[in-house]
Symmetry: C3
Subunit: 205 residues, 3 copies
């Protein structure tokens, strides 16, 4: 398993746990909780694949499913749903950030391969990384948290921008990808612990 | 018209009526009510077809549309919207359950044909049977009822599992499909009248 | 730039502004506001393209993106978010109506070209014109306004119906399209200023 596959697996597990926790919190039944876990982990990738006209990876490669199930089992064993805000544990933040970066890179590379413009590459990176969580929030009638707070979706867009620039400069390779991953992961972690927020626009509406 | 086509038509009409009733209840105007009816009846199938890369059946086969319209007209003639909880009438429960089973079988078979893994087959069955209702609920800002209560979506997943197993065992045919349909339909009806609920997971979140 | 391309550009800008205003109103951060603007302007077209199996235009033609950005910049320069209900300014209503008509025509023509039935043509026109706004409303947990009030989505459906009839009568050309555009635009403006509403269906549910 390469470094990147490991990062991807960590993302699947963490996103699955975050869907699980939201499901419990919203009083869903067991079916609803499982669906929330799968949707959060796989929803973004399925939308991305449908947009570019591929068969969703989750439907043919069963290994990704194992990590989602592993996330649910882990959450149950650790009884995460009985703990206070497990999403704020340092280990969860780290794993979630690794997933964010890994998913955004996957999405951006799919966009590059499909020869999309900058907007398309950014959208695919954003949807892959954040789309599952947005679907989860919309499903349980929350305004997607990524739209209102935190320096999170911005990281996915930044990754797409850097990859797009590297592609134009013809220097996209393992080394640049690792550099992009390491620097944006650090940025995300700094942003979290420094409590960075994007500004809002005040209005009288 | 085969038995299966009849079941499918019953499903289209019932789902259309359930969308109609939700639209009236939420104070939508006539356009909104009609859209809610079409979305509930056809939304799941359109998503399924888009995922597997087919042209949505509803866009080329006009007969399915007739059943949706028939559902709306039936609801108007019977003035269902003036009645108290028509969704709980025995005849509605029976027709809705027939639709659930028929739609789940269609979805699972599309997944088998596309050579998806178990997850893909289950997801297509679930989306076909329940996706329209979930879209309807999300559109009017309800948490999809299938996620919180009742033994409903589980039936679709069970159907997909059985069909997947039959396919592996190479015994998928009219006889097994009818057996699966009859047994899961009975299961759904027993579950409804016995008020089965999936357990929830308590938490301190 | 043809008349139609100009109408399309006006639509992109106006829809972008309407997404921007909704984002500010709902307290989204800058990222959320920008996403709301892009989603409102481009979301309908992306869904349409995915349904018919095309690569979304927005991912390959960068000019459409410029108009979305122009909308955001215009809203910022004019400080529209500090004004009271800028969506009700006459100029906004006119531009928004032009966009509605232009988008609905595009969507209907895509449906005609894909040889869809009347339902498919109407759905594509509706999604292209109104889908972005519905996604915007669903994302911030509002019941899509097009479902509850105003004579708006109906215009898109009417345009699709007229184009479908013209296609069957084999008289679809620049002249008929301009006639359809002019008459439905007038209809929409009359409907707005006369405060037309579609009837609702009362119920005791």
């Amino acid at each position: 398993m390469s470094l990147f596959e490991a990062a991807d697996a960590i993302g699947l597990m963490t996103f699955s746990i975050s869907g699980f926790l939201m499901g419990v919190r919203k009083g869903l039944d067991i079916l609803g909780i499982v669906i929330a876990a799968f949707l959060t982990a796989l929803g973004g990738g399925v939308i991305r694949d449908v947009i570019v006209g591929h068969t969703p990876i989750a439907f043919t490669q069963s290994t990704v499913l194992l990590f989602v199930v592993a996330g649910i089992i882990l959450a149950l064993i650790l009884k995460l749903h009985t703990k206070k805000q497990p999403e704020r544990f340092s280990i969860f933040i780290l794993m979630d950030s690794i997933g964010l970066v890994a998913f955004a890179i996957t999405g951006a590379l799919v966009g590059i391969e499909a020869e999309f413009n900058l907007f398309g590459v950014m959208l695919l990176a954003f949807i892959t990384a954040v789309g599952g969580g947005m679907l989860r929030d919309m499903m349980v009638n929350e305004v997607p948290i990524v739209l209102t707070s935190d320096f999170y979706g911005t990281v996915a867009l930044l990754i797409a921008l850097l990859i797009y620039i590297c592609d134009i400069l013809d220097c996209l390779g393992s080394f640049t990808l690792i550099t992009i991953a390491a620097s944006t992961l650090s940025l995300r972690l700094v942003a979290y612990y420094q409590k960075w927020q994007l500004p809002k626009i005040g209005g009288d509406l």
